[in-house]
Structure formats: structure tokens, C-alpha cells
Amino acid sequence: MTTAYSVPIDNGSLIGDDLPVYTRKDFVSNQEVRWCPGCGDYGILAQMQKMLPNLGVRREDLVFISGIGCSSRFPYYVETYGFHSIHGRALTLASGLKVTRPELKVFVITGDGDGLSIGGNHLLHAMRRNLDLTVVLFNNRIYGLTKGQYSPTSEIGKITKSSPVGTTESPLSPIKIALAAGATFVARTIDRDIKHLEQTLDAAARHKGISFVEVYQNCNVFNDNAFAAFTDKEVRQDKMLYLENGKPMRFGSNNEHGIRLNGFMPEVVHDVADDSSLIHHDTTANPVLASILAGMDYPEYPVPVGIFRAVDAPTYEDLVSEQVAHAQAGGTPDFNSLLRGGETWVVD
């Protein structure tokens, strides 16, 4: 597009026909993984490394940017370009990078503290700008790295190092925030369902525009089993609602439960006929359905996972590049004429 004044890297091409055939191993870095044994982060890393080879992007065109937190160690472990930045600011770096290097595939890794506490504002603005970034928020409802204080997603009354008699703040819902800010792709998945995790990461990575994925991630050291009540294999089918586009919202081991709309309020119905359940549409431009799903709180409702919303919209970086291209349509401008552009006078 903008040949003049663009970064002079020539092999920064997305999906070339001579793309090497990658395997999972190509995305494993030589860095020792430094999470606690049993941490849910391992699973997310593994599924990411499994997904990347099939993405159709050259390894050197990938960048992982993170903030600070256990989750934000992620870039060290993926064999490609990585930037472990500062607390809460990963999205800002990613934005500047993507605007100047639209051909790169940029992932942002963040945590519930990093992304929603100190970094909450950048999340809002990155979402509304619709940069083509894939944002993965590891929600373990705790500050892991700083050893166990409550986070903005911790439930009311939670006892932690900084709340010895329980917290007094309602948690934020990352999904609600992303939707309210206008994110074009919003999904939720869990660390323990590796298939769903990989599929969700894959869909997010392929979305053009900002994609936001909340991953319920177990911190077995400071907040063990925070999600076990519904993510445990035995109960999963009954306690979680797997959203599938165009499909009725059904759950239960025999698909026996469903979600119906009563006015604008969702309600759980048992032993229903297929046709009375709400049909999931993740591509509805108006995000009302997604908001309704985002408001379905456990245990009143099953926990919805999958893609809440996925709509097309022009990306920020494309619009900006178009403005530049348009300004350059008349050809490469001469700096000398800019210097002499306004009113001048000659002294001789």
C-alpha cells in the first residue's frame, strides 16, 4: 500500500505461498517455562503452540506482547518475536506496532489484573479502535505474580492477602466490558477444555479486527479451583453452555436443557424441544444477544463459553493507512516544497 515511508523490511508478508510447514515444536522457545507446576497457563501455552503452525503466518511475522503478571511471561515461551512490557500497557505497544506494521500478526497476552485493573482503560480504547489484534486475557481471578491479592474479577467476600476479612467490590466481567467498548470479536474459553481452547484461539486469531478472548485459568497456588464447579470434566456438560453459531442454546449431558428468552431475560428450561431454544448468532451486528449472554451469571445460569460476537468492521490500521495512501496519491512529496509551503519572502 504505502511503499514510500514504510518500514523497509521486505519479507514481512502475510501468508506467502512458500510458507514453511511448521510443527508445534517450531513455536517452542528455548526458555525454561517458569510457572508453578499445575498452573493453568501451561495448557493455554500448549494450545497456542498447537494452533500457530496452522495459522498460515510466517513465524517471523508473529509478535507476542504482554504486560506484567504470571500470564505475561507467555511471550518468553513462544519461539517468535516477544515483548514483555510493563504492567497494564501491552495493548498500547501493540497498537503502535500494528499501526506502523499492519502486515504483522500481533497477539496480546494479559491477565485479569494486567488487563482489567491497571490496564482497563487501554482495553476500552483498543476495543473501540478495532485494531487487528488478538487479545487473550488469562482470568484467574487473582494476582498471581504478586502472590495472592484479589483482582478486579475476584468475587465479593473473597479472602486474600489484601482482604483478610473479604473483599467489598463487585467483580468486573471482561466480556461485558469488551462488548460495551465495541469489540468486534468476543469469546470465552477455559484452560481445561483443550479442544475448545484451541478452537477459540484459532477463531480469534483468524478474525480480522480486534478479537478478545477471556480464558478462565486456574491458579492452583493462590486461587485453586476457582472455576472447578463448572469446568470439571464430570459437570462441564451440565454447568456450561457451549455457544455455537446458528445452533440452539442447549446444554446438559444429553442436551436436555436449553435457554429461552422470557421478554428480554434469558431463562433456563429443562427437557425442552429443540425449537424453543434461543438460536445463537455471534454475527449479529447489534450486540444485544451477546450482552444477554454476558449477563448470564453462574450458578443461576450455565456458564456460556464460545464466541459471543464476531462481526466485520474496518480496522483502525487500515483506515489510517488509507488516509496516508490518499494523501500520497499525488506522488511522493518534496520536503523542500513543504519548507517553502507557506508565505515566503526573499532577501537579496
Binding site: Y5, G82, T92
Partner: protein, 636 residues
């Protein structure tokens, strides 16, 4: 160049070397425009000149009120000048509030032109005048010229069919016409500009030009003035000239650097007075590939610039003092990841919100030290509006060559001030050096430093074989992996420091204004250049052994600085702060440099520096700024 024909040759014409005029009125009265137009005319005529716009606070004030007064001062001369003048010879006051807040600065017997129509009861009350100063004799020491500018303008526009309110808007053109007549200048420059400016508003154009001529003709016919004045062209260097403000020059300099580097410029910024104009200017220059990013806050702005730098672009961010404070944590990320980054701070009066439209130089130590840990960056400070252009290019030269963050420390005086500028030869500026790392096969160490500059390689994404990780945690100098090794951290800290110090090797010899040894050296930086230079030149005019030098490279200092300081008996450091540079000089060179501090939101006047010089040379007693009591005590 057109010299106007003097249509009334019998009128006395006095030749002057230098004239200082201040236009002042309500913020809505268009005084900035009036001042700018007169400036352009003087520039085209060939005068040397300097301007100083003095806006009201960032807060809007009611019409006619004291805080709503806006002023524009300019000095034009037939000799080289450095400042817009200490005190106006001519004051144009469009209303009582403007008179009240400005008349104290007018030189004795100075020319005071007022719009007498505006001195009505309502306006006098707004300005807290208990009696009309035009009548009560309080202005006796000035040459008071009362003109009914409001009604004269109305009359001149009688035919236009405009509303009274709209006619009122052309008063400033009337006033401009009077002053242009007074100094024998043609209406041509203003006319041409207005034609361009109001292309789509022919009624407004017509009204303004009518008012302009009416003012000019009034001067011609009214016989209110004892004389007309002539200020001959200055012996300036031949060339093509334009007007340039500091912020414009800064923006142009950055784009010039981008062209010279062949790399795209990215500007991440959040609006803030007095830096916003850089954002406005750069957002217009998309044809040069410039991408501007109005971020949600200052932290996002610098974060985005770092992201751009990481990707191989020229990541730039700009703000004013409070924004620099906010950016400090993220600037440190650039220090640690050793990416080229330029940070502009257009200083304003602080602390906190302070006085946003007023000038101060009180961010130098913040720029030096306002980050956690041992955090060394390069600091440059332009000294005049046009110098911003060159220092902006220099900032990028250093950032790209040394892979280092550079703080470009401008100030409200330099940024908003403007001056005629001999357009420099762009082609003679050398290309800016930089290089991306390339894949040489084998292990890639992102911290393998260039032995000369100590720069680490710029390894931008998109290149196979250079995949690596950077971040804010200390890294091994051998592998780039996280390292907590004690010796490694010590060495890396020292390397980051030394890399900044090595920039000194390329700093050109420091220019000394005056002999290179003597009784007193006055050392300054930034926007005080004009006042210091003038005061020092005057002192030498009195036969004193006084020189001055102005630092554009502040971190590192020029290598010859210590030696120069040692050649003078005394060192004086005037600054618009409670002491920044002076502390750095004292600490580094153990020289008993004397601070001279003014923290009033106003630039130094030449006479203030002169006063202090006289004190240090024993020409007079202790010199005090007129802001007593120093303790700021009020009441008991």
C-alpha cells in the same frame, strides 16, 4: 520589497532602530491575528524581529474581564535582535481590562492607543476601574491616543449589511490599519493573506479589508500622531525566508528526520497545552507517511510510540510537564529495551496543572531523573523557534544511532514564539544513520553492542532468524535472556549510562558569545537565549568582560564545558525555575555557579539579567526581582 508611498510628505518621519509593540484586548478581539499580521509585514519588509504571544490561561474568561486579556508583543528592528523586547514602546489596548493588565509595562512616554468606545461603565467595572483612566489623569505620563475604533469600524462597514456584532469583529483590522500606517507599511501582505484566509467568506473578507483601509486612512488623515516612524530593514542574510514558530519547526524537523532516515514517523500523543500544536501540525503531514495516534492518555501515547519503535518505525511522543510525569514509567521501558524513541516536552509553568499557558523551564531535572532506577537518557534543548527544526533532526540522529531515548526539552516560549527563518538547505543535511539487525545465522544476541556507540542491534519483527524477546526486566548481556546476575546488572546499568555519555563525542565545540575567558560567564539553556545574549552583549557594550554560552546539549554535557567554565571568574545561571541546570553544573564541575531564578510564568526581561550581571560585577548592589516578599507569606 515594497516601500509604501508616504502620501502626506509634510508629516515628520522619524527613523528608529527598534520598536516594540504590544497589541492587547479581549481573547475574542483577535489580538493574536493582529500581531501576527504586523509581524508578517515587518518580516517581508526585511526587519529582524521576535514575537511573544501571551495567551490567557487555559480557562476561558468572560468577555471584558481581566483574566480574559490576550496579548501579542513583537519587536522589529533594523539590527539583529534576540527578544521581543522588555517593554513595549507602543501599546494598543482594545478595552479597559487590556489597559489595566498591560499599561504597567509600557515605557514612560510610550505611545498608548486605546479604543475609547470600549471605556464604558460596564467594561470599566469588569476591569475594576473606579474611574475612567482615560479621563482621570492617571495615564498622563504616556502619549495617549484615543480612537473610537468601534464606531469608526462600524461606520466603515455601514454599507456591508453585516450585523453590529459582526462589524465589531473587524475592529482588530482597523487597529492594524492604524499601526501599519504609523510605521509606513503597506497593506499588501495582510491583504494577500486575508484573501487566502477568507476565500470562502467573501463578506468577511470584504469587511476586514474595509476596516483595514479605514484604519490606515484614519492614520493618514486624523493628525493624531506627531510623527510617523521608519524602521529600516535589517542587514539579514540573503535567502528565502518564512515565518516559523517553535512548534511548527519542531514538527517540520521531525518529518525532515523521517525523510532523511527513510523511515516512517509515528507520533503518539494526547492533547495538552502548549504541545498540542505539534499533533495538529503532524496530523496534516500524512503525505510524508506520518501517522498520528491521538491516544487515550499520555501513557498510551508513549506506549504506542515504543511499539512503533520496536517495529522499526520512528516512534515519537510529545506532551507537556504533567504528561511527562505520566509517561515516566513507560519511558523507562524504552531505556531498558534500548529502543530509539524521542520524547518531546514543551514545558509550561508547574507544578501540577500550574499555569498551563505560561512559560517555565522547570522540567529539566524531571527529564534527567524522573524515572525509577538508574535511568539515563539524552536531553537536548532548542534555544529559539527555528532551532527546534535542527534540534529535532539532531534528536533523531542520536536516537537512531545510539538506540537511546532522547528527550527534546522545548518550552512554551520557544514553542509559541515565532521568528523569520531563512529556509535552510534541506539537501545539505546528511542522511540519518541506522541499521536493522540482519540474520547472520547462528545464535542472535539482541544485546550484542556496537563497540563504538554501545548501541544494541535493532531487530525488528518480520525477519526470520532474529526472533527474540525483550522487556523491562534486566537482560543478560550475553544472551538477552532474563538475568538476575549481580555482575550482569552492574555492567548493563553502566553500559546504558556510558552509551549516553558517548554521545558527547559528537557534540560540536561549544560556541561562546564573547571572549572565551573573562570575569563572568552567563550560562543558559532553552528559551532564555535571547534575553541572555542581549544582556551579555550590552554588558560588553559597557566594556565588561562578560560572555555567555547557551547549552543545547544538556545530557550529556558538551565535553569542553568544564574547561570553559574554569576560564571565567564567575558563572551565572539564569533559569525560569528554582534551579535546575545550575545544580547539574555545580554537582558535575564543582563550580560555584550562581543561580538566578524567576518563576513567574514570564520570560526573563533583558534588564533583569542585566541587573544580576551588574550585581555580580559589582556595578551595583544586590539585584532582586520585584516579587517580594520571597516567603510568600500572606497575612499573619
Amino acid at each position: 520589497m515594497t516601500t509604501p508611498t508616504l502620501t502626506r510628505p509634510e508629516q515628520r518621519v522619524e527613523e528608529l532602530e527598534r520598536v516594540t509593540i504590544r497589541f492587547c484586548g479581549d481573547s475574542g478581539d483577535g489580538m493574536q491575528l493582529t500581531g501576527t499580521q504586523f509581524t508578517r509585514t515587518a518580516a517581508v519588509y526585511g526587519n529582524d524581529l521576535a514575537t511573544y504571544p501571551d495567551f490567557p490561561a487555559e480557562i476561558r474568561a468572560p468577555t471584558g474581564s481581566l483574566p480574559g486579556v490576550s496579548g501579542f508583543q513583537l519587536s522589529f528592528a533594523s539590527t539583529e535582535i534576540y527578544t521581543p523586547g522588555d517593554a513595549p514602546d507602543v501599546l494598543v489596548a482594545m478595552n479597559p481590562a487590556a489597559l489595566k493588565t498591560n499599561v504597567g509595562d509600557l515605557v514612560e512616554t510610550g505611545l498608548l492607543i486605546v479604543d475609547e468606545a470600549e471605556f464604558n461603565a460596564v467594561n470599566l467595572k469588569k476591569a475594576a476601574y473606579s474611574s475612567n483612566p482615560l479621563d482621570d489623569g492617571s495615564l498622563a505620563k504616556y502619549q495617549l491616543i484615543r480612537i473610537d475604533i468601534t464606531h469608526n469600524t462600524e461606520k466603515a462597514l455601514a454599507e456591508t449589511g453585516l450585523s453590529v456584532k459582526d462589524k465589531f469583529r473587524s475592529r482588530n483590522f482597523y487597529a492594524l490599519g492604524v499601526i501599519l500606517w504609523l510605521y509606513g507599511r503597506s497593506l499588501e501582505t495582510t491583504t494577500r493573506w486575508a484573501e487566502q484566509q477568507f476565500k470562502r467568506r467573501p463578506d468577511v473578507l470584504d469587511a476586514n479589508l474595509k476596516a483595514l483601509s479605514a484604519g490606515y486612512n484614519f492614520g493618514e488623515t486624523a493628525e493624531l500622531f506627531h510623527a510617523r516612524y521608519e524602521v529600516k530593514p535589517a542587514p539579514v542574510k540573503p535567502g528565502v525566508y518564512r515565518h516559523i514558530s517553535g512548534n511548527e519547526a519542531t514538527a517540520l524537523g521531525f518529518v525532515a528526520a523521517s525523510v532523511k532516515a527513510g523511515l516512517p514517523l509515528f507520533y503518539g500523543s494526547y492533547p495538552i497545552t502548549p504541545a498540542s500544536d505539534i499533533l495538529h501540525e503532524l496530523s496534516k503531514l500524512k503525505s510524508f507517511g506520518v501517522k498520528t495516534f491521538q491516544a487515550e492518555d499520555e501513557i498510551a501515547a508513549v506506549g504506542a510510540a515504543i511499539g512503533a519503535a520496536y517495529g522499526g518505525a520512528m516512534g515519537l511522543t510529545g506532551t507537556s510537564g504533567p504528561g511527562l510525569a505520566l509517561k515516566s514509567e513507560a519511558i523507562n521501558l524504552a531505556v531498558m529495551t534500548e529502543l530509539p524513541l524521542v520524547i518531546v516536552d514543551v514545558q509550561r509553568a508547574g507544578p501540577s496543572t500550574g499555569m498551563p499557558t505560561k512559560v517555565e523551564q522547570s522540567d529539566l531535572l524531571q527529564a534527567m531523573y524522573g524515572r525509577n532506577g538508574d535511568s539515563h537518557v539524552v536531553i537536548l534543548a532548542p534555544q529559539t523557534p527555528s532551532d527546534c527544526y535542527f534540534m529535532a533532526i539532531e534528536a533523531w540522529r542520536i536516537a537512531l544511532k545510539y538506540m537511546v531515548p532522547v528527550i527534546f526539552l522545548s518550552d512554551g516560549y520557544v514553542a509559541n514564539g515565532s521568528e523569520p527563518w531563512r529556509i535552510p538547505d534541506f539537501d545539505s543535511i546528511p542522511k540519518l544513520e541506522w541499521k536493522y539487525a540482519t540474520n547472520k545465522g547462528g545464535f542472535f544476541n539482541p544485546y550484542e553492542r556496537d563497540p563504538e556507540t554501545l548501541a544494541r542491534p535493532w531487530a525488528v519483527p518480520g525477519q526470520a532468524g532474529l526472533e527474540h524477546r525483550v522487556g523491562g526486566i534486566e537482560k543478560s548481556s550475553e544472551t538477552g535472556d532474563i538475568s538476575y546476575d549481580p555482575g550482569n546488572h552492574h555492567r548493563m546499568t553502566m553500559a546504558r549510562k556510558e552509551r549516553v555519555e558517548r554521545v558527547a563525542r559528537e557534540i560540536p565545540p561549544t560556541e561562546i558569545n564573547g571572549p572565551d575567558s573573562g570575569d563572568l560567564l552567563v550560562v543558559g539553556w532553552g528559551g532564555t537565549y535571547g534575553a541572555i545574549t542581549s544582556a551579555v552583549n550590552r554588558a560588553r557594550g559597557r566594556g565588561k568582560k562578560v560572555s555567555s554560552l547557551h547549552l543545547r546539549y544538556i545530557n550529556p554535557f558538551p565535553p569542553d564545558l568544564g574547561e570553559i567554565l574554569s576560564r571565567f571568574d564567575k558563572v551565572l545561571v539564569p533559569e525560569l525555575n528554582t534551579g535546575n541546570l545550575v545544580w547539574m553544573l555545580r554537582a558535575k564541575y564543582l563550580v560555584d555557579a550562581v543561580p538566578f531564578n524567576k518563576i513567574a510564568g514570564q520570560p526573563f526581561k533583558i534588564r533583569e539579567i542585566t541587573g544580576k550581571i551588574q550585581e555580580l560585577l559589582g556595578e551595583s548592589g544586590p539585584y532582586e526581582l520585584g516579587f517580594a516578599p520571597a516567603s510568600g507569606l500572606s497575612g499573619g
